[in-house]
Every structure is written in C-alpha cells, then in structure tokens.
C-alpha cells in the first residue's frame, strides 16, 4: 500500500513546479532536449501510462507518466479525471487519503486540482513547491552517483531544470501546442547553463564541460557508433582486432541494437565500454569528461539513454516493427517511460588500489581485487522526508555525499519556525546498499608487503552481485569523506575515509587457472542485474577481455594458438611441467593430461534431473620409492592449479584435521598419529602420503572419485555435496620401498575398488645405478655451485604461460570423439580385457581392465585432443592414451606369469649406450654358451664375467652383467643354477 502514495506525491509536486516555474524566475532557459520526440507517442501512451506508476521504484519516473497522461489527455480533449483508469490497478488504499503521514489537506488537494485543471494548482501548491522540488531527475537517484547536480536544497532550480530535461521529451511536444503555462517550461534551463545560483556553478566547476553539449555528444554516440570504429581504434593501438564476418557487421549501429534488446528484455542497465567512446572520433572528449566528472556526466548519459529509448521505441512503432505494433507498442513505450535507465560505464584500465590518491577523488576509476567481506543489504536513505510539526509543511531532502542536511527551519515563509522539521520515516526513499571490502589480489601486492583493502559501496542491482571470494574488476567513483569523530557529534575530524561508489562490477578477473567452468551449470554463474545489456553482457568474447588486459589477452590468445600448432607441443608442455625435476617424462605427460582433463558430460536424456554426469576429471596415483620427487611434482601441480588443495594423507582424518600425539611404549619416543581430506570442487586435489591415510578417510574418496559428490549423513543433516575434483595422489609402496618380489597389487595395497578409480597409476621406482647416481649427484652439486640453476631449462614455457594455455584449453576446447577414434578405443579396450582374462590365475595379481579403464582411455584421449586445441578426438590421441596407460602401470615391465615387476626390465633413464652395451653383452654371452666352452654344462658366473671382460675394451660391470643374465633368464634363453660363487649359467636347450 505504501507504493501508491509515494508515487502520487511527487506527481503533485512536479506539477506545482512546473506551474510555478515560469512565473518565478521568468528566465527563458535553454532546453536540453535535443530533439522533441513526436507527440503521438504520448498521446497514445496515455491510458497505459496512467496505469504504470505502481511498478515504479522512483518517484520521478512515476512523475513522468501521470504528467504525460494529463497533458496527453488534455491534448486529446479528454475530460475524464485521471484517477479512474488507475483505480482498478490499485486497491482502494490508493486514494490520496491513504498516506497517513502527509497532511490530508494538502497533498490530495493539490493533486485534485491538477486533475481538474493544472492552472488552478498554482496558488494552492505554491507554498510548498520550492521545497518539494525534489522532483528528482531520474538519474540523480542513483545511489552510486550522488550527482551534485541535485546536491543541495539550494540547487532547486537545477533540479527543476533536470526535471525538465527529464520530461523534455514528453513535455516539449505537449507544450508546443498547448497553451497551458506548462508549455513554456520545456525550455527550461539545462543544469549546465550557468544560472544565477552559485551552487550550480560549483556543480559545473568552472570547467569547460557544457552539459548540453555532453548530452548531445552522447546522443550522437549512441546513434552513430559502429563496431568498425572500434576496430579502427584497436588497430591503431596495435591490438588484435576481431574480424568482421561481413562488412555489414562493422556497420551496425551497435547501441541501437542494444537499446532494442534492453526494451525487449526489460533491462534497465546499459553497460558502456568506455573504449568505445574513445574510438568514436567525436566522443573522445566525452571519454575524458566521463572520467573526470562522472557525477555529472553519468546522469546526463542516463537521461540521453532514456530519451533515445523512447525515441527509438517510437520509431520502431511507426515502422511497425515486430512486437511494437499498436497497443503493444504503446504499452512498451509506457513501460519505458516508467523506467529508470542506467548507463554503467566500464573499460578503464584497472589501477592498483595503492595508486589511488587524493587527486582521484570524485573521478571515475577502476580497480581490481578480491572480495573479502560483504555486509547484508543496508537500506540507504536517498531522499529524506521532513514535515514541519507546526504547519505540516513537507520537505524532501536528497542525500549529498553520504549526508542528509536536515533543514534547520521550516522553509515556508509563513511558518518559518525553527527546529520543527521532523523526519517522517516511512515517507523517505531508500535504496539497497551494500558495503564490500575489496582486498588486493596476491599478484598486485608488492613484494614483502601485506595486502591493502578498500571499501566499496554498491547500490541497487549491484547488490549481492559479488560474494566473498570473488575476484572482481570494479569501476566506480572514488570518494573521500571527512570522518566524524563521534557519530553523535556534528564535528568533523581532519581525517578522511575513502571508498568507492561502484557503477560497474565485473566478476572473475582471475588470471590463472580457475575453476573448471564446465562443472558449473550453464548460466548458473550469471548474475542477474549486473548483466544488463550492452557491450559485453552477451558477448562471449568479453569473457576474455579483462579490463585493461584486453590487448594482452588477445595477444596471449594468439600466442597460445600459435603454440598449439607446434609439432613438439606435447613434449614442450610436458617438459615445462616441473622443469626442475629430471626425467620422468611419462609421469609428467600423464599429469599434464590430468590438468587438461576430459570433457564433462551430461546425458541429458537420462532419467530425472538430466541424467547422470560423467566425470571428465582424470585421477592420477603415483606410487613409488621414497625420494623420487613425487611430493615435488604434487607441489608443482598445486602451484599451477590455484584451486587445488594440497593435503598430506598423514595430516588428514575423515573427521577433519585432527591428530593425536602418543608415546611409543618401547622407545619412549613421541609419535604423531594423524590423518586431512580437503576437497576442492572444480580443481585438482593433491594428496600426498596417500597410503598413510586411514581407511576411514580413504573410503570417503570412493564416492568422490567416481560420483564426484560427498554424501553426509550426520547430526540430522543428510546431504550431498559436490566434489568435482581431479585427484592427484602420491603413495609409498607397502614396505616403503618397492619390493620386487611381490606383485604390484600387493606392493600398493590399496583396495582394488580405489585403484580402479585412478585413471593412471604410475610406479615411480628408484633404481640404484651408479651411472645414474653419478649424473644426479653431479646435477645436484652443480645446482649449488652456480647461481644459475640448470633446470633442464632449454626452451620451456614459463609457469604462467603454461597455466594460461591449460586454462584456455579447458575453457574453450571441448573435443568430441571421431568414429575412427572410437573404433580404436573399442579395440584397445578389448585387448586390455583379453590380457586379464587369458590367465585366470594371475588375475588377482595384476590390475585388470574394467569398464573404468575404457572411460579412462576416453578421458585421456579427450585431454590429449584438448591439449592440441583440436575439436575432435583423433586416432593419435587414443593411441597416446593407451600408451600412457600401459606405461603407467609398467605393464611392459611386468612378468605376466607372476605379476611381479621385473626391475631389470625397467629402463628408466637407461641411456641408449647402456642398452647397446647390454645387447652386446648378451650376444657375446650367447656365443659363449653356444660355443664350445661350456656346451651343455654351462659356464660359471665368474668365468663368464672374466671372459667377457677380456674381450671388451671397457670394464664389465657386475650389476650390468647380472641384469643381462636376469633378462635372458626371463626370456627363457638360459637358466642359472647354484648359489653365489658357484652359480652356473646354462643354455636352455631348444630355446
């Protein structure tokens, strides 16, 4: 019920002003309205216009409609009072008498007079009119602007001027052919025009800014800007420009399309890329003005936008555009008239918040940061409503720089009593406001410093757009306000607090690998309100151009695409991953593919809720000897994927993060027993010491790794949380060191159900090999001797580029299987199954293929295709995926009979020379055995070595020799009998 009164009230005021205006100052002021819109617009719009006010949020907008209604009706010669059309819309309470707080005699009367005849209202309304002038140009009510155009009560005239601007579109036309006093009003002053009021001059601040001109410029801009201007501009700045598909594309009047869209979608916000202003030659000046005097220029722009919205709507109606014909069009227009349109500029280069200084006060600036705190919505008084206790005269006062000036005395000359003005709370107007604390992002903080924070005030639609934790780029007006020492005192302190009145928010300006966007529902992250229409909102490309970084982004993108065309891409990327870690190429490749990930899929036609979701996340387990840099790899991945969480299995328990200290009874030594599982949705969760995790904790992982959810059923809460994460885990074998005498499964000792959930399982074994050790030691000592680290650092991608590459691929590339690839997948799977099935005895000892492995292969192939920036999964992707899976579990090195890994077969780091030497040794040995020497009986171990040594120019290494023997033994070419020194090497006959 409260809305009708609010709406009604200003109406009357305005009428008053309008009526009073000319007689009062008598000056003919320049009209701001640039082009009087055709009148029919208002005439036809009348009936519905009268009905709309209820919807309005702002009084001023409401003002527009009834006014036009009146005038229009008059123009039509309608004599019906305005009320009848409205009553059906409002409940009976809408009658003027319904506002309890206003004096029943005044306001209604005024309105009544208006209804009957505007001219009558003059004498009656006069006393209160100046004070009530509030009238409010549309834009001045924007919480974020606090335009000084309507700053103080003394600026009344300004306001009136504004008001006229507002209505110039509708009033003008009426005025021109009506002889009511109102007719002269349309030509009232623009606030820009210097008037006799000093306040107003201050508002324009002795600058060259002529508001009328500004408005005209912006109008031209909206009417004339074409994408081709932007393209030209970008080209001049040496930026990558988007190529237009057709020449026509560059010729579209961009903002007219946007405005139509605004009309169709019922939006009220237009996002304006300020770079566009800059690239439109006539508007270069406007760009500077907007940056320097946003308080004045933005409301002017809002006004122009509204004018043009109406104009455009009218044109469209005349043109008989779809959805704009006849009554429908009238309705649209009425709707537009009732709305408050807001231009939300953005596109300034974001500065560091440390660089803000007092000289930026009241200017438009842009900063980026991390939201750390947001208050609940605060009702922010925009217009205070005062009533004189003596004469019941009412005054409205607008907020100015966060303060409301309480009138000291009743402004009515007749009354003039001091200190009688009291605030009428429920007649005041409030806006939604929220205070946000924005903290510097880690990359912006200078070395060794702690991050700074600034306060942001966001209003209306922008409230609740960002949540704590979001990275945002905000554009706003920088304010410095004196601090009140004591809120109850009126004295100020010479300290100032600074904050930003935000006009535009852009979310998610994160630079590095963010969360996996495919895990979020489409459009789910889209924020209502911020969207608006205009540059960016629906522009997919905008996702990419971080403010100010637009050029860099574009360059980067080109660079990434270039990169993706390199033939050694795969090697390059895997080399760049943890470049300080030596060798382990296959492990790096596997992890690389994990970072790219497969595509998440939903089977839309499945059962309820869109069917099951197939995970695209690849899980990797590294099992291996201590000291094989597993943890370092994990740390590296953690670094490259900031969303990732690093947890040590040893420090984790299912319950949370708890640990227990006990004293070992034997050694009296304190022992730490603990168990953390922290999951990261849409990222990579790195778990070190996986084997040391308690079973209870690990069991949680079962669900996480396949269904990607965590179900909780405790303390009366039964819920399922999302945990869409890839897991990278590292574990030691059961006996800390890999025991070659046991089958793989027993060495790993994780339940097969869990193992099968890992797409890739790497055995990272530490082979003792003198040559290798020597090289490694040399490498390590070398690191310490010199300053320049030799991290295999030839031609590797820096960390940020690598993560940018991955991020880009994850966001943009969603490969699908080609038929060729799917055939190959099927074939590979069948052959994998066949190995497992061929020997039933061994099945328990080896990791067998299940359908999960098939899915793994699909994911890996997808990841590989994604890495190539390919739209389709090709044959090569599948082949690489299969190779990786085979390599991962060392199937090539596994004894098929026993399920044991044959250390001798592992050739990690074995150089080609060494392999050749072994081949030579093997050949010689065979000749020796086949030759006369030990035919049948075989050769003694020591003798064989000795003889080989005699033949060879280099020393025969005992370890090498035994490796060769072992390999040959495995092949069944020879056997070894006896122990130690008495060992005999025998040729197996017939082999």
């Amino acid at each position: 019920m409260s809305s009708p009164p609010r709406v009604d009230f200003p109406t009357s005021d305005i009428d008053d002003i309008e009526m009073d205006g000319p007689p009062q100052d008598g000056t003919i002021e320049q009209s701001l309205s640039i082009a009087p819109p055709p009148q029919r617009l208002f005439l036809q719009g009348t009936p519905s216009a009268a009905g709309t006010p209820a919807r309005q949020r702002y009084a001023n907008s409401a003002v527009a409609t009834p006014m036009s209604g009146v005038t229009a009706r008059r123009a039509l010669g309608m004599s019906t009072p305005r009320r009848p059309p409205r009553t059906p819309l409002f409940a009976p309470g809408s009658s003027p008498l319904a506002f309890p707080s206003s004096s029943p005699t005044k306001t209604p009367r005024r309105r009544v007079t208006i209804d009957s005849d505007p001219a009558d209202s003059e004498p009656l309304a006069f006393p209160s009119s100046p004070a009530n002038a509030l009238a409010t140009p549309v834009k001045n009510r924007r919480g974020d602007i606090h335009s000084s155009l309507s700053l103080t009560p003394t600026a009344r005239r300004t306001r009136r001027g504004d008001y006229n601007n507002d209505f110039s579109d509708n009033l003008n036309s009426d005025g021109t052919h009506l002889s009511v006093p109102a007719s002269s009003v349309p030509h009232l002053s623009a606030p820009a025009a210097p008037s006799d009021e000093p306040d107003e001059i201050r508002a324009i601040w002795g600058t060259t800014v002529n508001l009328a001109e500004t408005m005209k410029l912006f109008r031209d801009f909206l009417r004339g800007f074409k994408p081709k201007y932007r393209a030209t501009h970008d080209r001049q700045e040496n930026l990558r420009t988007r190529t237009f598909a057709t020449p026509e594309e560059g010729e579209v009047i961009l903002y007219e399309t946007y405005m139509r869209r605004i009309r169709q979608t019922g939006e009220t916000n237009l996002n304006l890329d300020m770079i566009n202003l800059l690239s439109y030659p006539p508007c270069k000046k406007l760009f500077v003005q907007l940056q320097k005097y946003p308080q004045e220029v933005v409301p002017a722009m809002d006004q122009v936008l509204k004018d043009l919205m109406l104009e455009l709507a009218d044109e469209d109606q005349q043109a008989g555009m779809d959805g704009m014909q006849g009554d429908q069009g009238d309705e649209e227009i009425a709707d537009i008239m009732g709305k408050v349109y807001k231009v939300r500029p953005f596109g300034l280069t974001a500065v560091n918040m440390r660089d803000l200084n007092p000289s930026d006060t009241d200017k438009l600036i842009s900063i980026k940061g991390l939201v750390i705190r947001a208050t609940p919505v605060i009702p922010d008084m925009k217009v205070a409503f005062f009533r004189c206790l003596t004469c019941s005269h009412t005054v409205q006062v607008e907020i100015d720089r966060g303060k409301i000036e309480e009138p000291a005395r009743c402004p009515r000359d007749v009354c003039g009593s001091v200190g009688t003005m009291s605030l009428v709370h429920n007649r005041c107007e409030f806006a939604d406001r929220q205070v946000i604390r924005l903290q510097e992002t880690p990359d912006a903080v200078p070395d060794g410093q702690t991050p700074h924070t600034v306060s942001l005030s966001v209003y209306d639609e922008l409230v609740d757009v960002c949540k704590p934790g979001d990275r945002v780029v905000v554009t706003g007006i920088y304010r410095s306000v004196p601090v009140r020492v004591n809120p109850r005192q009126r004295t100020m302190k010479s300290l100032f607090k600074t904050y930003l009145d935000v006009v535009h928010v852009r979310l998610n300006a994160g630079g590095t690998l963010g969360l996996d966007r495919s895990t979020r529902p489409a459009g789910g992250d889209k924020i209502p309100g911020i969207g608006g229409v205009g540059d960016s909102a629906d522009d997919q490309e905008f996702e990419e151009d971080v403010q100010g970084g637009r050029m860099r982004k574009a360059e980067l993108e080109a660079k990434l695409i270039d990169l993706s065309r390199r033939h050694d891409l795969y090697e390059l990327l895997s080399r760049s991953l943890a470049p300080s870690i030596w060798e382990m190429d296959d492990v790096k490749k596997g992890i690389l593919l994990q970072l790219f990930g497969g595509t998440n899929k939903n089977i839309a036609r499945g059962g309820g809720g869109g069917g099951p979701r197939y995970r695209g996340d690849i899980n990797v387990l590294l099992v291996g000897d201590p000291g094989t840099s597993k943890s370092q790899i994990l740390q590296y991945v953690h670094k490259i994927a900031p969303r990732g969480v690093f947890a040590s299995g040893k420090g984790s328990s299912a319950v949370g993060l708890t640990a227990y200290v006990t004293r070992d009874p034997d050694s009296k030594q304190l022992v730490l027993e603990s168990g953390a599982l922290v999951l990261s949705d849409g990222g990579v969760c790195c778990i070190d010491e996986f084997d040391k995790m308690s079973d209870a904790t690990r069991s949680v992982l079962h669900e996480v790794m396949e269904q990607q959810t965590v179900s909780i059923a405790k303390a009366g809460i039964i819920t399922t949380l999302n945990a869409r994460t890839s897991i990278l885990a590292a574990a030691n074998p059961v006996e800390s060191k890999y025991n070659v005498d046991l089958p793989i499964t027993r060495n790993i000792a994780l339940p097969p159900t869990l193992i099968s959930r890992f797409d890739l399982l790497y055995l990272v074994l530490d082979q003792v090999d003198e040559n290798l050790d020597r090289k490694l030691a040399q490498h390590l000592v070398g690191l310490y001797l010199e300053d320049a680290p030799n991290t295999g650092g030839y031609d590797v991608l820096p960390l940020d580029e690598l993560s940018a590459y991955i991020d880009y691929a994850r966001t943009h590339i969603h490969p699908v299987l080609s038929s060729e690839a799917s055939d190959e997948l099927v074939a590979s799977y069948v052959s994998l199954r066949a190995i497992g099935a061929s020997d039933p005895r061994s099945s328990e000892k080896r990791i067998t293929a299940t359908t999960r492995q098939l899915e793994s292969m699909i994911r890996l192939s997808e990841a590989h295709a994604r890495m190539r920036f390919a739209a389709h999964v090709e044959l090569e992707d599948v082949q690489e995926a299969c190779r990786l899976m085979r390599e991962a579990i060392r199937t090539s090195a596994m004894d098929p009979r026993t399920g044991k890994i044959d250390m001798g077969l592992l050739n990690t780091g074995t150089g080609a020379g060494q392999r050749k030497m072994r081949d030579d040794m093997r050949r010689e040995l065979l000749t020796m055995l086949d030759g006369g020497a030990g035919k049948g009986k075989g050769v003694r171990w020591g003798d064989a070595m000795k003889r080989l040594g005699e033949q060879s120019s280099i020393r025969v290494d005992a370890a090498e020799f035994s490796e060769v023997i072992k390999a040959m033994e495995n092949e069944g070419v020879l056997t070894v009998v006896g122990e130690r020194d008495k060992r005999m090497i025998r040729r197996v006959e017939g082999a």
Binding site: Q449, T491, G627, R663, Q669, A777, V781
Partner: protein, 497 residues
Amino acid sequence: MVSAFLIDALNDPTKVLQELYQEYTGNIDQFPAFVASHFSDVFLKSDDTLREVLPLDVNHPPDSYAPRSLVRFHAMVQDTSSSPEMYLANLNENKCGGWGISQNMPASEWPSTFDYCDLKEATALWAVTVPGQTTWKTEELAARSDSSSSPCQVPPQSHKFPVPNTPHIGVQVKIYDNEAAQSLKTTDVVTFIGILTSESLNSEVGSSPMVSALHVLCHKVQSTSDGSTTDELATARDDLIKWIADEALGGDEVAAQWLVLELSAKVYNRATPLLPPSITLSRFPVPTSSSSSALPTLHHVLSDLLPQHLSVPLSLDLLNKEKFSPESKDEDLHSGYLQVPHGTTLLLTENNVREGKLVEKGVMNIRAVQEVMDAQTLEYSFPFSKFSFPTDIVTIVLCEGRKSAFFQTGIVVPLETQPSLETNLYKTKEQVKSPDAARLAAFRSFIATAKRCFGTIDIAEETSEHIREDFVRQRQEDKSEGGKVTSSVHASAGSHH
C-alpha cells in the same frame, strides 16, 4: 647550528616542524620527503645524535612520555595492510596539517571549507618491539642506564605481537613520506624517529580503542651487515665452543660445534635454495624434578650471545592454542610466533610435550614451522588467499627421543653428555657462568661476523668433488638417501670454512 636545531627538535618537535613548513617553498607533495631528509641529517648520521633521542621500549613505555614528544622506536614492522590515511596537509594560515597536527585540533578550529587538493596520504602501519630481542641488545640500543621507569604492561593490541603474554610496545606508525614507506616490509627492523601521540586505532569505526601513534619524521631500516670485525676471531671460536659445551650442553663439544655452525647460518640463495639447515639436538634429557626451570640453560646462553633469540617451549596446549603463522582476522593481522625478523634464532623445546590430542590448529602450526625449516617461507593467511613471505630463521629443536616428534630437521645430532656436567643442562639465569664482558663481546662479534661472511666463501673444487663422491658412496650403501642430503652437507661445508 645543527646542535641548536637538535635541541629545539628534542624539546618541541611540532614547533620545529611548523617552522620548517613555513620556510618551505617547494611543492607541497615533496614536503614530507624534505622533512625526512632534514631530520635524517640531524639524527641518523651518527649513533651519538641518535642516542640523544629518548628511546621507546619496554622500559620506557608510551605512558612515560608527554604527548607530542620526540622519541625513537627500534621496532619490527608487523602489519602493512592498514589503508593509508588521508589528512589535510594545509591548514588555515598556511599551517602544516600533517604529523598529527590537524587531527588533534579542536573542532572549532577545523576549517569550514577545504580544498580536495590539500588532501594528502600517509602510510599507516603497525610496529612492535622487535620480538625476541635479547636484553643486552635492548640495553645497548637504549644506551641509557636509567631503567628506573615503569616497565610496561601488555598493551591493548597484544594480538599483534608474535609472542603472547609478553611485555612489549605496539605502536601505530604513520609515515608521511610515502615513497620511503613503500619499501618497508613486514618483519623489517626499523628505527623510527617521530612524534608520539595517542589516537583511536581506526578512524572509520567510532568505538575503536585508543592506541599510541608515532608520526614519523624520519626512519632507518636496519641492515644486517653493520657491525665491526674484531681480530681475535680464531681464538674466540674455540673458546666459544668450549663455553657453550660446558655451560649448556653437558660438555658435548661436537654438539656445540654443530650449534655454532648453525648459529652462523643464514639464507644464502633462494633461487636455488641454499638455506640454513635446521638442527635437532636429540637425546636431550628432560628436566629432572629438582631443576624445575622449564627452559634449558641453552636458552640463557643463546640470549647472551645473540641479538634476537626466541625460545618456544612447545607443549600440546601451546601448539593447539597459540598462533605460529600470522593470520588476518577482520582485516587485522594477528601475529604468530614465526613472524620474527630475519636473523632470529628459534629454540624449540619438546620436553614439555605430553600425550594428548593435537587438533587442526596444532597440525597447521607444525606445518608452518616445518615450512620455515624446509623453505624459509612463512604463509600469512588472509581471507581467501595466502601470501608466502620469506623468512630467515635458524631453528634449533631440542628433543628427548631419537628424533623430533614433529619436525624433520636437516641435521640430527644426538647429545652425548658427560655425566658430571649433566646437571648443567637446566640452570636458572643466575647460575650461568658468563665470561667477562670483553670475552662475551668477542663471542657476540664472532657469531655476527660468521653470519655475515656466510656464503661468501667459495667452495673449492676438491671439496665439491669430495661431496659428490660421498654422495655416490652413500647411495650405494643406503639406497634410500635422497637429494636433500647434498644440500645440508653442502651448507655445513660452507659454514666450516
């Protein structure tokens, strides 16, 4: 002339400042820098002039000074995250508005209109007494014999001091010379000279507590490389080892030697991490009931030797409740034990740990310490982000068992005490037999010099060859050795020279 200015400045710094302002004709933006250089010339040129300024320390708390007196404060920067403060730089009648002058003006004198161009920024940060600064160092800095003044209580913002429940001074420092202030980092040790006032902590919140504020005229960052070399270093070394061994380590000279090596270590290179190794002295007996002093004698000995030294008697309670790494809560950076200046030695004793439960916080604390040991970095937690800051802390762990229950240190030295000296392990401060002052000074200087020289010594080719061979041999013998050994061997080799 200078001395006259000095005396004026000591007596009434505000007046001197006003005079400077009135004479100053340059750009108002440059005025703070001008003031800084002016006062630096007067006070910071030599130690003597510096000592003319009254010290602000635990023995001379802010309460003991009149408002707006000139003090010097040797402090550690604890928190640089507070927003810069805006002040009106130019008041009516061309008066200077900075350095707290305008803030303390009565409301009646507040100019009714002001120009936004006169608004300037001042950097605000929080500084505390250098944590772990040992008594002798404090006295040396104060250079005043009168310790008569009342020792201060724990001030209100005590969560901003790394060591809980310890008397210290915490002051909000306002630096008007922004460019110079930009280079100050957390844990930097700085000598500030400025005007002491008392203000409410957060001007934007009505009910924030009153804290001491120091309006800085000039400041100097302490560099690690100052100090003089004495000649008798060679003899000092052996004596030092003997003294430590006999007084604090039950006669174990090998352990003492390790300890001295450890004390002289510092971060040499971060790019290819060459960091000070951490050391565990294992088999360190628990205190017998008779000597109830919880802190080992080693604590007192180290306090006598080092400028900054902190002992943390670990217990489950302490691990579970206290903070080790700094954390920002409600935009206020709470300190933790590990937020100490570069070059601090941390002595962790595990002898108070009993059986019981270590909660999440405890686990995190242990991890933070381990991170400092391994990588010499400390993570500060901020909402939604963590920042890693470099540290340079030498850690010594004392434990009873074969190895530390919580930490993996680079070096583990089992203590072998001589039975006759075992009672020496736990003594009160009074029982420690200190050498004469000159000798003690020589010891201090030896450690300081060793630390300074650390890493400047080239490792000869044969040494490096030796290390390499040694590594390969070790690998052959024990297959579980990783690459870490090299680094510690290497680091200690560096220290030996």
